[in-house]
Symmetry: C2
Subunit: 331 residues, 2 copies
C-alpha cells in the first residue's frame, strides 16, 4: 500500500467503495498492522468484502524499478499483481512507484500477444468532455508500430469504458516543420491511415484540451512532458488566482462573494476526478493512482478498475489486435 | 507584413514603438498601398523614423516553407530578412508563417559558425518570474550535440537580455523511466555536465512553470507540444471560469464584484506579455510574433528585437561558443 499516504488514504477509499458497490470485494495488500489500525479507526473490520494480505516489504517512491523487481518480492505491489496473475483478483490498484509498478506488472503479467510494449493511459478534461491520452511515460524512443499499438489500445479502452463506438484517434504532432513531425510520427500516420482504427489525423498540443478527438496518441516522453506541463500550468494559474484574491481587503471580499463560483470552477478542473491511469497492453488490469491522491481520488482509481473489469478491456484489446493483424495479412 | 491581421496590427504597433523609443527607426516591409492606408487612418506619414519597402508577394500562413523560399522572393519576410543580411536593418520582426520565416532566415542569414541548427526560443511565465525555453519547434529528431548548442544559446540570451549572470539551465526530461529519459537527453546531460554552461540537471514538465531554472532545453517536437499544450490548458481554464461566472444571476453578480481581481489575474497570465520568439543561432536577429498577436503583443515583439540588438545576442553566442569549443579541445 504505497503512495504518499499509504493506508490512511487507501483504507477509507476502500471502505467507501465497498459501501457504494455491494458486489465489490477488495483485497487489502500491505502491512497488516497498519491496515488494521486504519480499519479500527473507522470501526470497520475484515471479513465479507474485505480480505487482508500481509506483506513485509515496501517499494520506495524513488526506488529503481529493477531493484524493486529483484529485491522486493514481498512488497504490496508485487503481491497484488501476483493476485491478478493467479486470478484471485481481477485488477490491481496502486498509488506506488510508477516505474516499479510498470516493471512488476510487465514481468508478472506479461504483455498481450501482439503488443510489444504496455502503455500508460489516462483521461484528461477537455472543453467538451474528456479524452484518453497515451502513452504518458511508460515508453521512450517509441517506434511507429508502437504508436499504432497505442492507438489501438486507446481506441478499444475508450470504446469500452465510455460506450463510444469507433472513437476518433489523433496522432500528436507539431505544425512548424516542413514535412510535419518527426520520422516515427510520419510513419505511424501512414500505418494508421491504412488500419481499421478511426484515425482522424494529426493533432497539436492545444487540440488535447479542445477535445478535437477522443484519443490522443504519442510517445511516452512527449506524453509525460505534456501531462506534467499541463499540471504545471494549472497549478501556476490557480496560484496566481489565489494571490490576486488575497491581495487586499477588497479582493478578499470579492473572493467571499465569488466563492460558490470559484468552487464550481475548481470542481471542473479538479485533477482528482481524472485520477486512475491504466496500464494497457498487459494480460491483466493494473490501475495507477497518483501518489498524492486523497480518498476521493483513490476512489476514482478503484472505479476505473471496476469499469475495466466489467468491460473486459484486455480481452477486447486482444480481439481488436487480432482483427488489425488479420487485415494487414489479407489487405 | 504577415500574421492574421497584417498591417492593421503591425502599423499601430510600429507607430506606438517609434513614439516610445526616439532612437528607433523602422522599415515597414509589405504592400505599400495597404501600409499607407493604415498610416493615413492614424494621421501618420513616412519619413523620419519610418521607411516603407514595397513588396508584391505574400507567403500564406499554411504555405510550405520550401515553396515560399523558392517562389516568394518579393515577399515581405524575404525582403525584411534581406535587409538584415545587407546590414540596412539590425533585426527583423514578423508575424508570418513560422516555418517559412525560419527557412528563409536560415537560407539568407546562415547559422553562426559552430551552430548546426537555429532554434526557436521564447519566454514563458512562471510562479517566480519568467524562463526562456527552447527549442519550440524548429527542429525535430535532435541529436545530443544540438541540445548542448540550444543550452548555450538559451543561456547566452538569458544572460544578455535579463542581465542574469550564469543562468541555470535544465534539460527537459521525464521521471518515469528506469534510466531516466531517452537516449539523446541522457547523452546531452553528460555533455552539459562537462561544459561551462551552468547546467542544473533534469527538469520535468511541471518545473517549467515552477520556475525551477532560468532556461529549459528540449527537442523542438517536445518543446512545441509543451508550449501548445500549455496554451490549451490555459484556454480551457479561462473558458471554464467564464462559463461558471456566467452561469446564473448570482454568478454574474459575483463576476462584477470580482472584476478588478479577475482583470489583475488575467494580466498575469496574458500571453501578449510573452509575445516575440527569437530565432537564435543565426547570423542576425529575427523575431517571430504570434500570428494572432494584437498591437500590444506585436509591440512586445519589437521590444524583444530592440533588446537583442542592444545586447548583440548573435555576437555573444559566437563568443560563448568559441569558449565552449576551446574548452573541449584543451579539456
Amino acid at each position: 500500500m504505497g503512495g504518499d499516504f499509504g493506508p490512511s488514504v487507501v483504507i477509507p477509499a476502500a471502505l467507501d467503495a465497498i459501501a457504494k458497490y455491494p458486489d465489490l470485494a477488495l483485497h487489502l495488500v500491505g502491512n497488516q498492522e497498519l491496515i488494521m489500525l486504519e480499519l479500527r479507526k473507522r470501526n470497520a473490520n475484515v471479513g465479507g468484502a474485505l480480505t487482508i494480505r500481509h506483506t513485509t516489504q515496501t517499494v520506495e517512491m524513488d526506488e529503481l524499478p529493477s531493484q524493486a523487481l529483484r529485491g522486493k518480492k514481498d512488497s504490496s505491489m508485487r503481491v497484488a499483481i501476483n493476485l491478478v496473475k493467479e486470478g484471485v483478483v481481477q485488477a490491481c490498484v496502486s498509488a506506488g512507484n510508477t516505474g516499479a509498478l510498470m516493471a512488476t506488472a510487465r514481468y508478472v503479467l506479461k504483455t498481450l500477444p501482439g503488443i510489444d510494449r504496455p502503455a500508460i493511459v489516462s483521461t484528461l478534461p477537455t472543453m467538451r468532455g474528456q479524452i484518453h491520452m497515451l502513452d504518458l511515460g511508460a515508453n521512450v524512443d517509441t517506434r511507429a508500430e508502437h504508436l499504432v499499438q497505442f492507438a489501438l489500445m486507446g481506441s478499444v479502452l475508450t470504446e469500452a469504458v465510455e460506450n463510444k463506438p469507433s472513437p476518433t484517434v489523433g496522432l500528436l504532432n507539431i505544425g512548424e516543420e516542413e514535412i510535419k513531425g518527426n520520422e516515427q510520427v510520419k510513419e505511424a500516420a501512414t500505418l494508421l491511415a491504412d488500419s481499421n482504427i478511426n484515425y482522424a489525423g494529426f493533432v497539436e498540443g492545444d487540440d488535447i484540451y479542445r477535445g478535437s478527438v477522443d484519443v490522443v496518441v504519442c510517445d511516452g516522453f512527449v506524453g509525460n512532458v505534456a501531462l506534467k506541463t499541463s499540471e504545471g500550468v494549472a497549478k501556476m494559474i490557480t496560484h496566481f488566482m489565489k494571490e490576486e484574491f488575497q491581495r487586499n481587503l477588497f479582493s478578499r471580499f470579492a473572493a467571499v462573494v465569488a466563492l460558490p463560483v470559484l468552487k464550481a470552477f475548481r470542481r471542473r478542473i479538479d485533477p482528482r476526478r481524472y485520477n486512475g491511469a491504466s496500464f494497457v497492453g498487459l494480460q491483466g488490469i493494473v490501475i495507477k493512482s497518483h501518489g498524492g491522491a486523497d480518498t476521493l481520488a483513490f476512489g476514482n482509481a478503484i472505479k476505473e478498475a471496476m469499469l475495466e473489469v466489467e468491460k473486459a478491456v484486455p480481452q477486447r484489446i486482444s480481439t481488436q489486435l487480432e482483427t488489425l493483424l488479420q487485415e494487414r495479412r489479407t489487405g
